[in-house]
Amino acid sequence: MLLGPAVLFGASSAASSGTEAYLIRGATVHTMAGRDIENGSVLIRDGKIVGVGKNLSAPKDVKVIEAKGLQVYPGMIDAGTEIGLVEVNAVRETQDMNEIGRFNPQLVALTAVNPSSEHIPVTRVNGITSVATMPQGQLISGQVSLIHLDGWTTDEMGIKARAALHMRMPFLQIGGGRRFVPDDEPGGGSIGGSNYSEARRNFEKQVADLNDFFESARRYKLAKQAHAPDFREDLKLDSMIPVIDGIEPILVTAIREREIRDAIAFADSQKVKIILCEAPEAYKVIREIKAHDIPVILGPVFALPMDEDDPYDRAFTTAADLDKAGIRFAFASLSGGASLASRNLPYQAAQAVAFGLPHDDALKALTRNAAEIWGVANQIGTIEEGKLADLIVTDGDPLESRTQVRNVFIRGKLVDLNNRQKELYEKYLNRP
């Protein structure tokens, strides 16, 4: 087992005591903020990066990690997942992504993140140090939270509790005999219909209700500002204020070309800031996405083409298409069962490289771009002085499966690389 220094220093999963200091020495440092530094060092103190360069000397109190021949990268960021919100996909009791109702801007993912979830240690050993974890559902499902994959409590894990409002763009769906479910039942407000006109009617109702909801939020804000005598606080509408003010972005899940176009039109008409999410057909709307400078959190690269007659590599090349157009994008594991795929995020990026995305741009998408899109680039995403020390030490390219991650730092703390899967491995490998 290549636990190496992690074992040496007896790291625990405890949060930083605030006095830990490390010098990683002799590595190739991929800062993602300029050139790689050969034979470089990174000095970490009190959770932050306090030095990056060629010939940093080791202060007396630091623990030195000799990393000759090794690589240092910023910790990778899964820009969209369900980590912490689900343990076993098929077991309802372990799911906390889907709330009842169509308009839930007051719900915050971080509230339900389970810091003891086994998905956390299993994912971070592959070099993923933070994720955007998101509620799922119809229309407005809640607040996406950006979290670190380490911490005793949700408070310690949280980077940004309200990073974006997650919204599912309404779409026309004609399901095989699906009935319309009343709003207050599970899956309520389902957009499907048993025939075209019913589906169309339902779709139009979703759109109208969505616009009404934003309109209500605007009126609510005015009433609040005016200190109207009959003003009563409303948690839902209150959560909408930063959104309608254009401060907090909306993460809009939009699958088909039409949904993407609708999302852009919606952002225009409502004058809100959006981030496109999943967007497998973003390649069809490149010009408009670029013109509106909308970032994209791209769904799985390992995905089947949407249509039977799409090229076999359609999902493999979308990242390269966005990159070529200069659209900012990040990778996300997303979709059903995402948390079990999160650890494979770098391999999804690798597939995009195999099909045309420049290698450096893939690494950027996994680190810097994700931090920028989530509005936390001042804290994470690159190896620069003053940033949180979220970084990984590897024996090779993190995009390759055979590469081993030797050390993971989260907020300057060397995290435990053990997990239940490794324990089961050791236990049963040694079964007599």
């Binding site: 343990e87 098929a90 390992f302 590599d313 597939q351 995009l399 390759e400 499966s401 590469t403």
Partner: protein
């Protein structure tokens, strides 16, 4: 509409004529069973004719320069549900009378997509709704040919078994199965019982036929027993003429099935998924069962909770014949990448990792005399990569099956334009015919009063 487009794709496939010999030169040839050769490989008359540093080009040979590129055997997926129109006959717990052969769709685009990911042979199985499912088939992905022509001639037929959560789900009295009558079994105990009852019946049925054939052999007058299409495949299992591929997860159910097999005197050929195989690798190896698992799937259901990505490596180390399978039309396209993970999780060597998707599944399906490695005399099922197949940054460039080129990335890229043109023409034709037959009912546009956003 869809079928029009499929046909269009179908017709641009190369016309099938006798294939010229193919000489791939300057390649890194990963034979899997005989090390790596830097040099040439010759495909002739459907077989691998030569592998050496230098191979003279036969007259009329197509020369492929593979400088800096890699060649490996076609990938074999031991568990797939592509190219079938029906997966589960879920109304009964023992559905051994049904067969994959009856539901094959040779135009399933999943075939081409899997081919583009390097898969040349696949074990096509029923789903896992029933303790005893249907009759399985091994297929070669000869895209463009008929279902019959895709069958792997000479491969042993198989049968699907399933244990655990899936077969008991239909019997769940509180679940959706309740509406369907809550069919037996609803527990792992019941799953064992269903299989034992079926083999009891099969044993009696076999005895009736044995008695009949003995009488006939002795020249006595005898009335043949009534044929039982449900029990016939199980008799073939008892006689070792049909391979059992059993879907399973937990160690208890794995051992349960091995005990049944021992009691009735047959073998389990492969344990499929077998996510807790690492816990009972010793017992699996002792029985002689193969294990076909996922690289790293877990957490999707309760019985996958103890799944670990080290499963394949532990089982390999404990002497089990292991393969990696897809069970999924998407995963099927990157089994090479799945194999690479076993180097990370458990430290398998490159050759061991590649074996998991080539020679090992070939052995499990008992077709290793034909496929699974690059050896002279074997079927010319060959992949050309632009880099090492175990690198996540590499991709498949060409795929040959029986020496015929079924996939070529360059050709695929070139044909995209013409495909787009024929697609547009077909759509236009359809639209104009619709217009002629009925008043306009075209797509909704904003101008026609679509919702404003």
């Amino acid at each position: 509409m869809k079928s029009y487009l499929t046909l269009a794709l179908f017709f641009v496939s190369p016309l099938l004529a006798a294939d010229a010999p193919v000489l791939i030169q300057n390649a890194n040839i990963l034979t899997v069973t005989k090390g790596t050769v830097k040099g040439s490989i010759l495909l002739e008359n459907g077989k691998i004719a030569a592998i050496a540093d230098k191979v003279p080009a036969p007259a009329g040979a197509v020369i492929v320069d593979a400088s800096g590129k890699y060649v490996m055997p076609g990938i074999i997926d031991c568990h797939s549900h592509i190219m079938i129109e029906a997966v589960n006959e879920g109304s009964v717990s023992v559905s051994s009378m049904v067969g994959i052969s009856d539901v094959l769709n040779p135009e399933d685009i999943a075939i081409y997509r899997a081919l583009a990911g390097g898969v040349t042979t696949a074990n096509i199985l029923h789903g896992s709704a029933n303790a005893i499912g249907g009759k399985t088939l091994v297929m070669k992905l000869r895209w463009g040919k008929s279902a019959e022509e895709m069958k792997f001639q000479g491969a042993m037929p198989g049968i699907k078994f399933a244990l655990g959560e899936n077969p008991k789900r239909a019997g769940n009295v509180t679940g959706p199965g309740a509406q369907a009558g809550g069919r037996y079994p609803a527990t792992r105990m019941g799953v064992e019982d269903v299989i034992r009852e079926a083999f009891n019946d099969a044993t009696v049925y076999k005895a009736s036929w044995d008695a009949y054939t003995a009488k006939v052999a002795r020249g006595e007058t005898a009335i043949p027993p009534a044929r039982d299409l449900r029990l016939e495949p199980l008799v073939e299992v008892l006689e070792g003429k049909r391979l059992v591929h059993a879907h399973c997860y937990r160690q208890d159910e794995i051992l349960m099935l091995l005990r049944i097999a021992d009691d009735y005197g047959f073998k389990i050929r492969t344990l499929q998924h077998v996510l807790e195989g690492y816990k009972v690798a010793k017992e699996i190896a002792a029985h002689g069962a193969g294990a076909s698992t996922f690289s790293d799937w877990w957490a999707y259901k309760m019985e996958a909770q103890d799944a670990i990505p080290y499963n394949a490596a532990i089982m390999v180390r404990k002497g089990v014949l292991v393969s990696l399978n897809s069970d999924d039309g998407e995963l099927m396209r990157h089994l090479d990448k799945e194999a690479a993970k076993t180097m990370k999780y458990g430290g398998l060597s490159e050759t061991e990792a590649l074996s998991l998707i080539t020679i090992n599944p070939a052995k499990q399906l008992m077709i290793d005399n034909r496929v699974g490695s690059l050896e002279v005399g074997k079927d010319a099922d060959v992949l050309l990569y632009d880099g090492h197949p175990l690198s996540n940054l590499s991709k498949v460039l060409k795929v040959w099956i029986d020496g015929h080129e079924y996939f070529d990335r360059d050709r695929d890229l070139q044909e995209r334009n013409s495909r787009e043109i024929s697609k547009k023409a077909l759509i236009e034709k359809q639209t104009s015919e619709q217009k002629r037959q009925s008043p306009p009912a075209g797509p909704i546009t904003r101008a026609q009063g679509g919702p404003s956003l």
